[in-house]
Amino acid sequence: MDLKKTIGTLKRELDAMTAIQTFIAYAFLLVFLIAPLVLMVGQAFVYQGGASFRWFTDLLSSPEYVSFTSRGGRLFEVRRGVMYLWGHDYGILLNSLIVAFFVTVFCSIIGVVAAMLMGRYRFPGKSLFRVLLLIPLLATPFVNAYIVGKLFNPRGGLINYLLVDLLHVLPWRLDIDGLVGVILAQTLSYYPIIFLNVLASLNSIDPSVEEMAENLGARGLRLFRTVTFPLFLPGLAAGAVIVFIFSLEDLGAPIGFTGARANPLSRKLVSYQVYSSFAEALTGSFSPKIAALAVIILFIAVAGFLIIRRYVNLRTYAMLSKGGRWSPRLRTPSVKTQVAIILSLIFLVTLASMPQIGTVILATSNWAISGTLPTKATGQYLGTLVSDPDVTRAIVNSLLYSGAAVVITVLVGSSIAYVVARRDIPGRALLDILATIPVAVPGIALAVGYFLLFSSKMFRGSILDPLLDPALLMILAYSIRRLPFTTRAVSAGLAQVDKSLEESSMNLGANRPTTFFKIVLPLIIGHILGGAILSFVYSMSEVSTSVTLGALREDRVPITFFISQIVYGVAAVGSVSIGAALCVLLMAVQITAMAISNFILKQKVAFLGV
C-alpha cells in the first residue's frame, strides 16, 4: 500500500518537465562536481596500487607541512629601524589554518563593529559610508595584495613614508610581508562578507526584543552580550565560515605578495602549493601527495560549511535580506561619539579601500616604477586593454567563458531552485545541498579534480581534455562554482511567488510547462537575471580554476590568469600596471552589474568578493 502510494506520488510529481529538470541537474552535478572530487579523494588514498593513508601520514609527519616549532620567519622583530611583521612558518598545512583563523577573527571583529555602528547609530554621512564600506568587494585579484605589499615596504612604501618620514608617529618602519601580509590583504578583502551578514541579522532583529531587555535593566555591553549578540550570531557564523573557506583557498594574496616582495614565506600555503604543482601537471602527471593536500582542505572546508549550515540556515549568505527594515533602534549619540564613529569609519574605509584606490592609481600612472608616489598620469596601460592582442584575447576569452557559464548556470540553477521549491520528489534535499556546496569547495581542489578526471584515459583526447583545450572545462568549472548564486537568487524569487498562482493556472487547464513559462518565469525573471549577473561578474573574476586549468594552453588564458602572470612577474608582457588596468576593467564590469541589479532589476543583492 505504502509502496503503491509512493509510486503514485512519484508518477504525479515526476511529470516530464520535472523529470528532465531533475535529470539534468543531477547529471551535471554528478559529472562536474562529484565525480572529479571523488576521483581526487580516491587518488589521494592510493599508494603503490593499494589503498593507503600513506600520503596523509607523509604530509602530517613532514615538518615541511606540519611543524610545531617555527621553521623561520619574523614577528614583531625590530632590526635596524625596521619592525618585521612576517609571521612564523609552522609548515604549509598549519600556516594555512593559522592564516585562515586570524583572517576570520579579524574580519569578524571589523565586520561586527562596522555593522553595529551602521545598524545602531545615526550620524552624518552614514549613507555614504554604507557604499564606501563595500568597496573592498570590488575584485582586484592579485593586484590588491601586490599593493598592500608595496605600501608596507620598508623601502619607499607609502605608509612608511607617511608614518615615519613625514609624521614621525612610528619609531621604526613597518615591514608587513609573508603570512602576516597575506592575513592583512585577505582581511581587507573579506570583512564586508561578515559586515553584510551581521548587518542583515541586526536589521532583522525585532527591535522590541532589545527594548524589552532594556526595560528589564540590561544596558550597554550587557545588552549586547546577552541579547544582541546571540541574535546576530547566526549571521556572524554564516559569514565567518565563508571567510574561513575563502581564506583557505585564496591564491590572490600569496601570488600578489610574491610579486610585490618575493618573500617565500607568503607562498608557504596549501593553496599556493597546489597551484604551483600544476606546472608539472603540464606533463600530464599529478602528484598524489598534492591531491592529498587538496583533499585535506576540501574536507575542512566542506565539513565546516555543513556544520555551520546545520546550525544556521545559510540560504541568506549571498543576499542582503530584503531591503533591511529601517530599524527604530537607531540612536543619535553625543556629538563627541559621532565624531569618533566617523573618524573610525574613515580610517577603516581608507585602509580597506587602499587596494582598489591603489589599483586605479597603478593603472593610470607610473606608480609601478616611480617609487613612493606616482609622478605622472598615463593612459598607456588602459590603452593596452584594446591595443595589445594578448591582453585583448584574455578579455575576450573571459567574456566568452563567463557568458557561456552563465547560460549553463541559469538553466541548471533555475531548474534546481524550482524542483527544490515546488516538487515533492525523493532526493530533493540532496539536490538543495549539492547546489549550495560549491561555495564551500575550494576552487583549487575542484581544479585538481577536474585535471585528474578529464585528463585521465577516459577523457583523453576529448573536448573535455584540459591538456588539449581547457576552455570548455573552465566554462563548466565557472558554472559549477557560481551555481549557488543563481540557485539562491531564483529560490528567493520563487519564495515570493505564492504557490496558488501556479495552482490557479493548472486549475484553469494549463499543464506544468505552460504554467512555468507563462506564470512562473515572468514573475521570477528579475531574480533570474539578478542571479545571472552575479554569476557573470564572479566568473569574470574567478581565480582558482582560471590560473590552474587556464595555464594549460596559452591562447585560452582568461583575464585572471593573465593578471597573475603579470603580478607574479613571470609574464613577458611587462608592467604590473597592465594587470591593474585589467582589474579596473573587472571593477567597471562589477559596478555596472551592481547598478543594473539595484536600479533596473531592483534586486538588493550584495556582492561577495570571491
Partner: protein
C-alpha cells in the same frame, strides 16, 4: 455540469487527518457548502476535488467517471482561491483570458467571452487594469470571472469572501448565489462562517477534524443538529447538560432544577444517558403555542435590547437560559417571566465534551 462523488476520501498530513473517510454526493447544479472551524480540512477536501491534492485513500468521481488521479488541468473545475491568486504580471483581461488561451480559443470568440465574463461580474471596462489597481472586492470578481469564463463543470469557491469587509461580503454572496442560480452550475463552497453557509447553500456538510459530521439543508442542520459540536458551532443559545429518561420515544431531560421534554433528532439517546439539551433563544414564546410545549418559569437575570428582539438571560431553577422575547415586552431584571418552547424545538443529543 456534473455530479460530484467522494467515496471514502482520506488525506493525512503526518498525524493530522485533513480529510477522514469523506463520502458524499453533490448533485448536478447543487450549491453545496463545506462548513467547519478553521483547520478542519475544508480546503484540503476542496483541493482534492480540484486535483491540486491527491487522496491517500478513496476515490473522486465526476458523473461516475473516476478522476482521483487526474491532474488539475484535466478536470475542468474552476477554483476561486481564498487569496484570489490573480497573476500580478497580467492585466485583468489577460487574467480572465488565460483559461481560454490555454484552450486555444480563437481571438474573436475569446474577446467576446472575456467581455461577457467581465460583464457578468460587473467589471466591464476594467480589463486594462492590473490586479494591483483594483479594490479587494474587484479582485474577487476578477477571480470569479477568470473561472466562469471557461464554463467549468464544477465551480469551487474557497472562502471567497473572507478578505472582504462585512457589507461587501453580504453583497457578494448574494451575487455569487445569483450567478450560480442563473447558470445552474454545480458549486462547492467552503467557509467557516455559518451565516454565509446558511444564506447561500442548498446543502451544507459540517466538517470537524477532517470528518463530515452531518450533511443536510441549512434548516435541517440548524433545527436538528445531530451532535453537540454542530449545535454549538451553529446558532446561538445555551447547551445544557442533563440526564435523559426515555419513555415512549420521547426523552424527558432532567436539567437539575427542572425537566423538559424534547426530540431525539439523532435517535441516539437511551434511558439514563447523559445528554445535552439544545434550546434556541428564538424558539421560545411568551404565550403558550398550540402544540406540545415545555413551560419554564424563571427570573430575569439580565436583559438587553437588540432591536428586532430583546435578549434575556433567564434563570430557571438555577440554570441560565438565553431567551429572545418580543422587543415591546418589558423585562425588568429580577422580575419573573414565563416562557414556552415547543417540544419539537427542544433538541436532545448524546452528551459529548466539545473540544
Amino acid at each position: 455540469m456534473v455530479k460530484v462523488e467522494l467515496k471514502g476520501v482520506t488525506k493525512r498530513f503526518g498525524d493530522v487527518v485533513a480529510a477522514g473517510d469523506v463520502t458524499l454526493q453533490i448533485e448536478d447544479g447543487e450549491f453545496f457548502t463545506f462548513l467547519g472551524p478553521s483547520g478542519c480540512g475544508k480546503t484540503t477536501t476542496m483541493r482534492m476535488i480540484a486535483g491540486l491534492e491527491y487522496p491517500d485513500e478513496g476515490g473522486i468521481f465526476f458523473d461516475g467517471e473516476d478522476v482521483t488521479n487526474l491532474p488539475s488541468f484535466r478536470r475542468n473545475t474552476g477554483m476561486v482561491f481564498q487569496n484570489y491568486a490573480l497573476w500580478p504580471h497580467m492585466k485583468v483581461f489577460e487574467n480572465v483570458a488565460y483559461g481560454l488561451r490555454v484552450r486555444k480559443v480563437e481571438q474573436a470568440e475569446l474577446k467576446k467571452r472575456v467581455d461577457e465574463a467581465l460583464e457578468l461580474v460587473h467589471l466591464d471596462g476594467l480589463g486594462g487594469r492590473f490586479p494591483s489597481q483594483l479594490s479587494g472586492g474587484q479582485q474577487q470578481r476578477v477571480a470569479l470571472a477568470r473561472v466562469m469564463v471557461i464554463n467549468p463543470s464544477v465551480l469551487l469557491l474557497d472562502e471567497p469572501l473572507s478578505n472582504l469587509d462585512a457589507k461587501l461580503r453580504v453583497e457578494m454572496r448574494e451575487e455569487i448565489k445569483e450567478i450560480q442560480r442563473e447558470l445552474g452550475i454545480t458549486t462547492i463552497y467552503v467557509t467557516h462562517d455559518q451565516e454565509e453557509a446558511m444564506a447561500v447553500s442548498d446543502r451544507v456538510a459540517i466538517q470537524n477534524h477532517g470528518v463530515i459530521r452531518q450533511v443536510g439543508t441549512p434548516s435541517e442542520i440548524y433545527s436538528f443538529p445531530r451532535e453537540v459540536f454542530i449545535a454549538s458551532f451553529i446558532g446561538r443559545g445555551a447547551i445544557l447538560e442533563g440526564v435523559a429518561g426515555v419513555s415512549g420515544g420521547v426523552p424527558r431531560v432532567d436539567l437539575g432544577g427542572f425537566t423538559v421534554e424534547g426530540v431525539d433528532s439523532a435517535s441516539a439517546v437511551g434511558d439514563g444517558d447523559r445528554v445535552a439539551c439544545v434550546m434556541r433563544p428564538e424558539s421560545f414564546s411568551i404565550g403558550a403555542p398550540g402544540e406540545p410545549s415545555n413551560r419554564l418559569d424563571g427570573v430575569v437575570e439580565w436583559s438587553s435590547f437588540i432591536g428586532p428582539y430583546r435578549e434575556v438571560k433567564l434563570n430557571v431553577g438555577g440554570t441560565t437560559l438565553l431567551v429572545d422575547v418580543p422587543p415591546e415586552r418589558e423585562t425588568p431584571v429580577g422580575g419573573s417571566l414565563t416562557v414556552y418552547i415547543p417540544v419539537r424545538r427542544t433538541i436532545v443529543l448524546p452528551w459529548v465534551e466539545v473540544k
